[in-house]
Symmetry: C2
């Protein structure tokens, strides 16, 4: 947090040396240290409220919807009947907010390791924490890794909304994590994990996709535009137990009226397909 | 250029208040003032060589290919037979480099207003300035606006590779510029202009697309991922004199071997289609 100077916050992370994003802070709302990480929330000149964990931007009020909608609706819409969903992480509530919108979802279980992130989000980030109000949701504070050891063949979709693989989330990018998710899935289940971007983290993307491919008969990489993330993108690794899944052909499409009712601002069926369409250099790299 | 401190360059532009990108500089190669603008070239820790005009990042060695390929191949591949192409701007040579690759292009005319940018690019940015070596190219130093007044019904495709609408490029975002391009096109001709991004410049995008729609029977907005541009994207407004053009269905598709021979690292036929696929909020805004 020592990078807050002259009213500007500058992101700082060993993963992305040599380039960084800064935003102008209007008001610091929260600066705490939890058991797991530094938590920083502020109001900004141009991005609304912003959540920062361990010096890394997690979400801004301006653009969080693209990330939350895509990490939720990409896997949900690849599944024929995503009735029961597990969210690992997602302590700001934004993914729960999105998953609850899907008409076929009946039950959501969420396991977030850091109670402090939930508490801070409820207090300062109500536009995301509104997700915790869903009647579909059961929220646990705990380790998603440990939780899944006791929950086999239970979920249709597992979404891992983690921070980057430095700090508490490092275990969520290993192959045994994908194996564990596989064991917690019902037949034809689907997983979706945040997985870095092809511009800055090509080794991380390649490795994470390989872990997923080792465990799942079908796996793919997708991405979405999020301006305040490094390189302006976020990537997802998606795996399915259904070897015949067609990731880029959603099982359900919404009308414009349904999109409006669900307040979907980024996701639509065409964007779903486009999200799996890769620039040549990364298509060749991941082939 | 006063934002270069402690070995880091920070972008500064009135168009995007409250957020900014910085990169670490290894070596300053050029710092000059031309008749039109401040020119700054440096070598960086993580982005290779970088060209900055009037404090705004124009291109970095790491990611310039996505911009150059897309602003060139999107319009070229929307045209059945793009034999003669006009490039307005593009003083670094990168667009000429890409346009020359297209198998149907026979003749390229380029009009760049700032001779100093060409000179500096030839000296310090050979990976882009190599475009000036094409035998297909005739390069003029002058005002593209004035040039087109004397060249009617001459070009199949006009690509405007300008800086942002502050400084010398401001005229290239007006409706009379689109009218002038229209007059310089052959029947079924196509134009493509850099046009801001939907996250930061939504009014600019909306206005520029409207200007294009007012002049052309078919017009659309597309975008590509360029990490070092604000919001990590760049947008394009494309107009065609052919009312039946299908912008998202390229007229020519390349094999992987052809992509490799042309050193296309970003553009492919699937990315072409995806580039016109808009997130819901901007699809609705531009409808």
């Amino acid at each position: 947090m020592d990078v807050l100077r002259k009213g500007w916050f500058t992101e700082s992370c060993e993963m992305w040396p040599g380039g960084t994003f800064s935003f102008e802070v209007k008001e610091v709302l929260c600066k705490e240290k939890s058991q797991y990480q530094d938590i920083f929330v502020c109001n900004t000149k141009s991005f609304g409220r912003v959540l920062v964990l361990d010096g890394i931007i997690q979400c801004t009020e301006k653009d969080e919807f693209s990330y939350q909608e895509m990490i939720s609706f990409l896997p949900l819409c690849c599944h024929k009947n995503p009735e029961k969903v597990l969210i690992v992480g997602g302590g700001d509530g934004g993914v729960a907010r999105e998953v609850a919108k899907h008409p076929k979802v009946k039950e959501i279980v969420q396991v977030e390791i850091d109670a402090k992130v939930i508490e801070v989000s409820k207090k300062y980030l109500p536009f995301m924490a509104v997700g915790f109000n869903s009647e579909k949701l059961t929220l646990h504070v705990g380790d998603g890794f440990e939780f899944m050891k006791n929950h086999s063949r239970e979920f249709d979709v597992i979404i891992t909304d983690s921070s980057d693989p430095v700090g508490p989330a490092v275990n969520l990018f290993q192959e045994n994590y994908f194996a564990l998710m596989k064991s917690a899935l019902k037949p034809n289940g689907i997983v979706c994990s945040q997985a870095g971007t092809f511009w800055n983290d090509i080794e991380l993307v390649t490795k994470t996709l390989q872990f997923c491919r080792n465990q799942f008969p079908a796996a793919a990489y997708a991405y979405a535009s999020v301006p305040t993330y490094p390189s302006g993108l976020i990537g997802f690794v998606i795996g399915s137990l259904d070897p015949n899944v067609k990731f880029d052909s959603p099982q359900i499409t919404f009308t414009k009226e349904e999109e409006r009712q669900m307040n979907l601002r980024y996701y639509n069926s065409d964007i779903h397909k486009a999200a799996f369409t890769l620039p040549t250099f990364i298509r060749n790299q991941l082939a």
